[in-house]
Amino acid sequence: MSLEDLEQFQQIVLRDASLQAALRETADREAFIELTVRLGRESGCVFTHEEVAQALRARRRALLERWV
């Protein structure tokens, strides 16, 4: 359920420029993860610090794959 909540929160953020601006201001990785978890909870999406960290690692790995 919590990974689904993270995906749901990702869609909420992508539709909300003010949420994007708030998250984008936090360049420090650990502070960003904490903020993401907190804002996620405020939006009704519950996920853990580790799940966000894993998602970041997965995103980075996916970008290292071959470009089309």
Partner: protein, 266 residues
Amino acid sequence: MGMTTDVRQLSKWTPLRLYWQESSAFVDWCYVGEQRLTDPFYDQTVERSLRNPCNLLFRHQTPIETLGQLQEAEPCLPPRGFIFHTSRCGSTLISQMLASLRAFPGVPRIFLYREPAEVMVSQLRRRGAHMIPGAIEPALFDMDMADVFRMPQEEYVARVLAKICGEALRHLDDEALLLNYRQLPEAVWSALPGFFGVDYAEPDLERMRRASRLDAKNPSLAFADDTAEKARGVTDAVRRACEQLVEPLYQKLEAARTARRHRRSA
């Protein structure tokens, strides 16, 4: 992850990559905000943007058809010109010099090339992705996977370079300008204005001259001509592969370039 369907959300985002999923093509987007695209290479801009964890975690993904929808909703400037090249031949320099003027009139094409042995020496020292055996589908270069790992590296690099030059010759038409690396940087303000149909004022010319004195890939450094140094790096293996596979095509490019120059001055 869900797909973005509202193109209005893509303002200040640029395409990052295409990818395939179950036989359909999709676009991954990167937030660039207000920053101008001034890096020598787009992937440098992307890399800097993605250092921000928000830009890494929260990215739009759309079906490829969204590109057409976006163009209808917010038409962008048409491409003004294309620079095709053999690599390691000053294409970054030209891009930087043109970007310094925001000058992209018309859609003519340049094919920029260089003495093939010099390109090969540069590629063997530091490979572009297309020069790494297996990194790009070998069939694009008329080879198969067994071939690319069997042959000496000099032969692979020469075959890729030959394919690029061959395709350039095959697609030559009146819209294309051939440019040799040794014509740079002066050709940018002598040959390109007429080709692109623009007039450069003196302040524009001075800005281009200043840009040409910098290393195009690392603008914090001054430009240094490495032609002699590249020539010293040509091994017997490079020379053999170059003479057998690329030099004949290079000579055809030079002949075509010379013939066009004579036609223009007639």
